[in-house]
């Protein structure tokens, strides 16, 4: 998104995004956050009705993180995503219809029904894919950044991962290589407090994931992951640094998932109060909506308009997915190898 001055009020005290983006862009961001939320609610609902099988990992509650990080990215920039990747995919520009189609296992899906939720990707908008392997995307992002550097492009690469992933060897090896080679890559740890059932306190020797940045001689930045402007500001800084050839940044975005880890979570490791608190007092969409109104960027009618538009978009997308064709068994072995033209 292009930079512009925002809103009714101006001045240096405004939160970052109100200085950086136009009101229209700010409203679009809200639109996208709703799109993420409603997409996942729709997926959850379809799952319950048996229209989607397998499992899925919902990022409800983490929308500001995905959105904020992607705001300074262009379509040419790339991301690697995670098992909890629907938000990243939409924030980076994917169409929800093709995402639903993928979840429904259809040929019109982004992965032609071969990948599902855990491998959702839209290479055309720069999403190299969700990943079923915790930490699996980090080295790949470093490789993509190596391409960006070797081809002297302006491109930056963002690698999303969770707090749990920070204890994988892949994290260590990837951050070290990105740093010594000064690659244009941004490591975004979405710290939602738990890797599955294991809290960071029980799994991780340091209090903040960003505390590990010093082990790779890169900046480590902590942001409130439910505050869109804070996330976007950190992303802006890191993108600037990366494009200037100054190397990688580690951003830790503190957030929370409202839902269970996946569809098979008995939720024994978090208290009802904790979940309740994040849902009612720190919902990123609610916070952003309130702020937008406060700064006069949108009014209640505008919000209703967005909600209604999103509702329609989701309904259409599900319809598209439902009516799309399934792959043919005869094509089982297609896409294993690159067919000669």
């Amino acid at each position: 998104m292009a930079q512009a001055t925002a809103g009714k009020e101006t001045g240096a005290n405004l939160p970052f995004i109100y200085r950086e983006y136009s009101p229209e862009q700010l409203r679009q961001a809200l639109h996208k956050m709703y799109l993420i939320r409603r997409f996942e609610e729709g997926a959850e609902d379809s799952y319950t009705r048996g229209l989607i099988h397998g499992t899925m990992h919902l990022s409800i509650g983490q929308e500001a993180s995905a959105m904020g990080i992607c705001m300074p990215l262009t379509l040419d920039d790339q991301i690697t995503s995670t098992h909890r990747g629907h938000g990243h995919c939409i924030a980076k520009g994917a169409e929800v219809a093709k995402m639903f189609a993928e979840f429904f296992g259809k040929t019109t899906g982004y992965c032609r029904g071969r990948g599902g939720s855990m491998h959702i990707a839209d290479v055309t908008t720069g999403n190299l894919g969700a990943n079923g392997i915790v930490g699996g995307g980090l080295p790949i992002a470093v490789g993509a950044a190596l391409t960006a550097k070797r081809t002297k492009s302006e491109r930056v690469v963002v690698s999303f991962f969770g707090d749990g992933a920070n204890n994988e060897g892949a994290f260590h090896e990837a951050l070290n290589m990105a740093s010594i080679w000064k690659l244009p890559v941004i490591f975004v740890c979405e710290n939602n407090g738990y890797g599955m059932s294991t809290s960071t306190a029980r799994s991780t020797a340091v209090a903040n994931i960003a505390d590990r940045a010093s082990a790779y001689a890169m900046p480590g930045v902590i942001v409130d992951g439910n505050n869109l402007s804070e996330v976007a500001e950190a992303s802006h800084e890191a993108v600037k640094r990366a494009r200037a050839g100054e190397g990688p940044t580690l951003i830790e975005s503190k957030t929370y998932r409202h839902r269970g880890h996946s569809k098979s979570d008995r939720n024994r490791y978090r208290t009802k109060e904790e979940i309740e608190d994040w849902m009612t007092n720190r919902d990123p969409i609610m916070l952003y909506e309130t702020q937008l109104q406060e700064f006069g960027v949108i009014d209640q009618a505008g919000i209703e308009g967005i909600r209604e538009a999103v509702r329609q978009e989701i309904a259409d997308a599900i319809e598209f997915a439902k009516t799309s064709p399934s792959p043919e068994i005869a094509n089982l072995e297609r896409y294993v190898y690159t067919e000669p033209l």
Partner: protein, 332 residues
């Protein structure tokens, strides 16, 4: 076995085996991701943490290589760890410790140590979890001297073989098909073991030997029922152990039936059935063969997400029936 027998699920049978092992021997403990309060991704450890405490049912960080190495180090110094991979696919991160360390340490040190570690691998497709959560990688570990590799197919064997594995002085790798976890079957109470390295004839027959592993044993038995109605009398051998493989039982069966069909879920090429076939083709059972040795294995593709495609990647009962019919009738 004299103990009373109940119906338990495969997952319950494993859980019971682990509980018995921990009760009997202070040195036994469990390690893995989310095996504590979460109960394990497939609820195999269930509530064991409440019984044995977080000290003996240890949640590891998401660090498969390190975690496996910790288990190896604990085993070599006197403990008896049972390490759970959340999905067998994540063994790809720990092959170094499994293959270079656990499997070889005794040999490299000229017998100065043993490595009594047990590792559990929830494996296989059928859950809609796509390519990185559905693999069957037992053939890899079956290729590695120093390891023992088993694939129990029933709740009874799951318990008995796990107890045998814990008692074994060497590293034992257990591949558990995820779709079996909820399958019920008779399981004796108390302690018993089922030997590692012995195949089991699940059904006697005259016309054709089917060697199957893990969940394919049940599909083969289903197929055998249908085939029986057609007058084809199938012998079903449950291989149970991949390394060391009990080829003698298969040889004896083939000498009787003269026909061999291998059914396994892993990718066909270089999968477990390749070894079964090759072992028979070089044995004295060769002279008894009336037909080519046929393999039904997984398709040469990653496991797809779409459920129909997913089903089509691995042998199903009708595939087995058809292959058996063709084999017996001489159709190719």
């Amino acid at each position: 076995m004299d103990q009373p027998v109940r119906e338990l699920s495969y997952a319950q049978a494993i859980q019971e085996a682990m509980a018995i092992a921990m009760e009997q021997d202070e040195r036994v403990f469990l390690m893995g991701e989310d095996i504590g309060v979460y109960g394990g991704a497939f609820q195999v450890t269930g509530d064991l943490v409440e019984r044995f405490g977080a000290d003996r049912v240890i949640d590891t960080p998401i660090s498969e290589l390190g975690g496996a190495g910790v288990a190896v180090g604990a085993a070599v110094t006197g403990l008896r760890p049972i390490f759970e991979f959340q999905f067998s696919d994540f063994a790809t991160l720990a092959m170094e410790q499994i293959v270079n360390q656990a499997a070889k340490m005794r040999y490299m040190l000229g017998g100065a140590v043993s490595v009594p570690v047990v590792m559990r691998f929830p494996a296989g497709s059928g859950t809609g979890a796509a390519a990185q959560h559905s693999q069957s990688l037992e053939a890899w570990l079956g290729h590695v001297p120093g390891l023992k590799v088993i694939q129990p197919a029933t709740p009874h064997d799951a318990k008995g073989m796990l107890l045998a594995a814990v008692a074994d002085p060497d590293p034992v790798m257990i591949f558990e098909h995820k779709l079996l976890y909820k399958m019920k079957g008779p399981v004796p109470e108390g302690y018993y073991t089922v030997p590692i390295g012995k195949a089991e004839i699940r059904r006697q027959g005259r016309d054709l030997t089917i060697v199957a592993t893990s969940i394919m044993v049940h599909k083969a038995l289903d197929a055998a029922e249908t085939l029986e109605a057609e007058g084809i009398d199938v012998e079903v051998v449950d291989l149970r152990t991949i390394r060391p493989m009990d080829t003698q039982t298969v040889i004896d069966s083939v000498k009787k039936t003269s026909r061999l069909l291998c059914v396994y879920e892993g990718v066909k090429t270089l999968g477990v059935g390749a070894e079964v076939s090759a072992a028979i083709a070089e044995s004295d059972a060769f002279d008894f063969l009336d037909a080519p040795i046929v393999r039904l294995g997984g398709a040469e593709t990653p496991i797809p997400y779409n459920p129909e495609l997913e089903k089509a990647t691995v042998p199903q009962v009708p595939d087995i029936i058809k292959a058996a019919r063709d084999l017996v009738s001489g159709r190719r």
